[in-house]
Structure formats: structure tokens, C-alpha cells
């Protein structure tokens, strides 16, 4: 069965510092991996995805994520954090392309960027 783990409930980082939000996954086939962000009182927004190809994928708002097959990880990163990045971040996995279309989400990591 698919699963996603986000080991940190909350990550605090100072503005201007690099940030990392961790995600590990488990699927039986090749993973499709995604990051979403949820701002207060707003819906979930797509940030980036890994389907195939380069292990480093770039997404919206300067975020990037690195797919590491051996460590089954897909950590979200940004070189320089902004206070406006403070939000709830969700990692998701889908067992594709020949697997189920079900997307499983992690429990979320709250990112707090301090001025």
C-alpha cells in the first residue's frame, strides 16, 4: 500500500535562511510525487511534481524538491525563505503510471518563517 511520512509537524526557519521540509514515501511501483501548500483559509495549491527525469524539480514560488530513490525521499527546499512562505505543506504520492490513481497525502508540516 502507498504511504507518505512527513516526520516534522512544524519547521521554524529565519527569513533569508534555506529551508527543508522532509518527506519519505512507500509505493510498490514507480512513484509520482507532489508538494502542495495550504495558506490560512485558502485551498491547497500545487507547488511541484516529480514524474520522471531529473531528480531535482523546480516549482512555484522558488521552491524545488529532490527525488532520492535510494532513500525514498522527496524533500522540499528553498534557498532563501520568506515570511510569506509560512503555511502548511503537504507531500503526496501516487503509485503510477500503471498503478492506482489514488493520491495519498502526508499529515502536513507547518512552516513558520521568522522575520
Amino acid at each position: 500500500a502507498q504511504s507518505v511520512a512527513q516526520p516534522e509537524d512544524q519547521v521554524n526557519v529565519a527569513e533569508g535562511n534555506p529551508l527543508t521540509v522532509k518527506c519519505t514515501y512507500s509505493v510498490s511501483g514507480n512513484p509520482y510525487l507532489f508538494w502542495y501548500v495550504q495558506y490560512p483559509n485558502r485551498g491547497l495549491q500545487f507547488l511541484l511534481k516529480y514524474i520522471t527525469g531529473d531528480n531535482l524539480v523546480k516549482g512555484s514560488y522558488g521552491f524545488e524538491a529532490e527525488f532520492n530513490k535510494s532513500q525514498t525521499s522527496f524533500h522540499l527546499k528553498k534557498p532563501s525563505a520568506l515570511v510569506s512562505d509560512s503555511a502548511l505543506y503537504f507531500c503526496a504520492v501516487r503509485d503510477g503510471p500503471s498503478g492506482t490513481y489514488k493520491y495519498i497525502f502526508g499529515t502536513g508540516t507547518r512552516l513558520k518563517v521568522l522575520a
Binding site: 509520482y32 502542495y36 485551498g43 514524474i51 497525502f105 502536513g108
Partner: protein
Amino acid sequence: GAGVSQSPSNKVTEKGKDVELRCDPISGHTALYWYRQRLGQGLEFLIYFQGNSAPDKSGLPSDRFSAERTGESVSTLTIQRTQQEDSAVYLCASATVGGGLFFGSGTQLSVL
């Protein structure tokens, strides 16, 4: 429309009543998903529809929950005999094959 549309945005109901939540996906998206998000928690998968295939209902928490989709268009999630533990935000999302999910703003359901 340009995005996924959900209605109503807020629903307050009394315990034991039935409720119906609606989702209009992005035109051309063959897949449609329902998730539940309880306060302060993650997304709980409920059900998904993919084209004309049988829906994956494996996440529905009880037989009080059901969902339908008309072709590749509107979907309704029905909760019968609502309970207080059903209070949550119900999120709908649509997708193309191989694409990411695009979410609606959700329906906040409050069962009194």
C-alpha cells in the same frame, strides 16, 4: 470554469440530517477526487473517479457516505444521517492522467 468549484462553501446541519455536497471539476479533467480534512489534520482520501472506470471507494468511512459522478462532469458527495464526527472540510480535486491535483476551496461542514 477556470478552476474546481465546490458548493456550498459552508453547510451547517443538525445531527441525523442528510447533506449533499457538489463539485464541478475543471473541464477536460478525467479524474475527480474527494478528500476530508478535519481541523488541524491532514487530508483523508475518500473516493476517486477515473473516466468510465469503477470508482475507488476504499476511503469512504462508512456506508453513510456515497458519491456519484455524471460522466466526466459534476460529482456529488452525500452523507446520510450526519454525525458530529463528520464535521470537517470536504475537498474536491480534479486531474488529468499523470497530472497533479487541482483543488477546490472546499465545503466546511458543521454538524450540530
